[in-house]
């Protein structure tokens, strides 16, 4: 068996200590590390297993014998899933790796908006001491969470602890999510936008979510409502979001993702002052690789021994 570890510098590098452990655990197998695309393409033709962040169409074509791809990411929308399924290639993702630090981002985003930190930080840079900044709190407010995977469930758990009401949409499996006060059927998702003070979008990019959150949803929001996008940029109609911000039909937006990344210098988003923008960093974390390796290690044991069940298997039809 040949296992390729694709380090994605500078953010995603498997620590040497984990590679050594794998070599000890699988002494008869070939474990190689590629440091860039060129090295990866050279290693792929006889690889059985790939551990990495991305898996594109050209990689799939080069990987003639690949049987399993373990992605570090929770979102795998960039992968050629239909072709992978046709060839019977297993795909597992990074579900659960992100829940702690993504939840911290969500909580900070809500409090920052409740207390108008985006106004205060502009004042600070201007050298302006102005106490006349309205101060709210998230305790007692309602958060609507769109996308109840492991991250959404963790945000619900913490929000509940902090005294918030939690709304969501019934999950596709029909399960009632944990820590939720009230939920709506998928077809009534607009009600979550209507009733929430904070709407947090965690939707993956799939056939059914692209451009899903458009003017209809922004119009439904309260004029004090805040939209937070931690999912994928292309699940939101950015023009409609900009219109809602410009007309102040909503209070504000916190977004980590964009229709096109990197965000271009001439995007109208830069000129708005009721938005907090971060550069697609909310999934990043110093403990990321540790948690990813834990998932990979367990899946590798199952893959090598044939005993047990892999965790985080992606359903190619659903796309997550």
């Amino acid at each position: 068996m040949k296992i390729v570890i694709n380090n994605f510098r500078p953010h995603m590098v498997m620590p040497e200590i984990f590679i050594e452990e794998m070599k000890r655990d699988y002494p008869g197998d070939s474990i190689v590390v590629s440091e860039n695309k060129e090295e990866l393409m050279a290693e792929l033709p006889d690889a059985d297993v790939l551990f990495g962040l991305r898996f594109t169409k050209d990689m799939l074509e080069a990987a003639k014998q690949i049987k399993w791809v373990q992605s570090l990411s929770a979102g795998v929308d960039h992968m050629p899933m239909a072709e992978m399924e046709n060839r019977g290639i297993l795909l597992t993702n990074g579900r659960g790796i992100h829940k702690i630090h993504m939840t911290e981002y969500a909580i900070a985003a809500m409090i920052m908006m409740a207390r108008n930190f985006h106004v205060m930080s502009r004042n600070q840079i201007k050298g302006r001491y102005d106490r006349n900044i309205s101060q709210g709190q998230i305790h007692g407010s309602t958060v609507g969470i769109i996308g109840m995977g492991s991250i959404g469930t963790e945000i619900a758990r913490v929000s509940k602890f902090l005294g918030m009401n939690v709304l969501t949409v019934k999950s596709s499996s029909g399960d009632v999510p944990e820590y939720v006060d009230r939920y709506y059927e998928r077809k009534d998702m607009v009600k979550v936008f209507e009733e929430s003070d904070y709407v947090i979008n965690l939707l993956p990019s799939t056939r059914s979510t692209i451009n899903l959150i458009d003017g209809k949803y922004f119009s439904a929001m309260k004029d004090t409502g805040v939209f937070i996008n931690m999912g994928r940029g292309n699940t939101v109609n950015e023009d409609d979001m900009i219109e809602a911000l410009r007309s102040k039909s909503i209070k504000g937006v916190v977004t980590d993702v964009y229709n096109k990344e990197p965000l271009s210098e001439d995007s109208p988003l830069w000129s708005l002052d009721n938005i907090i923008m971060t550069p697609h960093i909310c999934g990043e974390n110093p403990h990321y690789m540790e948690r990813a390796y834990k998932i990979f290690k367990e899946n590798l044991r199952v893959f090598a021994s044939g005993e047990g069940e892999m965790v985080n298997l992606v359903d190619a039809n659903k796309g997550y």
Copy 2:
């Protein structure tokens, strides 16, 4: 009995509904509202009870018959406490009113620093999309809380839930604070600064705390450490704090309070980029008056009936 309600516009205004309730509850007594300093000074000479934010020396001199002052604030350091004690005037404060929204501020402050939001917000204003911003998390980090009153205890409770280690200094009463992993004696407070990733200062301004946190404490901190001041500006030696920020011997500061407020336009703090500054707003909250009225109502019942014990009585010797 004459009760004076001193509304402190625009931030502290007792809602009409509460005043009407008091008038119903105490039909034989005189309940008057003053809207500015002039009106207040005219009402004070025959007042028995004052409900308000401030109580200064000139107010005390005017208030010949005053028997009890209920302050909305937790910090009562601006009051002439020795004179009040000499005259046997009761003083109760706003302890407990602030714990929810102050805790939200503290949690947001820590996460903002862990994720370098102060860097990202400057980039946003410059129109700069730069993903190369280090991203940390508070889960697994250590918070040191200086001042374990009701706010400190609530910050400890939430920090613990969010996976942090909680350090503190033993309270003056000798009680072991709740939700704390480890604590030091007062004389060893420097150890809290040494071992914490985030130090949160909640100290009131008293004879023993003025200028207490100086270079000795900043030098003890980790170079990745963050100092958060939500207490009183004069408990910190601001020059020493600025020196720690300039030399980058600590990672950063989040501060809501200053040696002199309002902060002057030529303060060197404005030019630093490893600080998040807010204009003494962290105690403000839309639910403030509701919570303050609840305390006042209960204390008024005790005061009027002589039955039970007043809550939040301030000890003039301790100053809180």
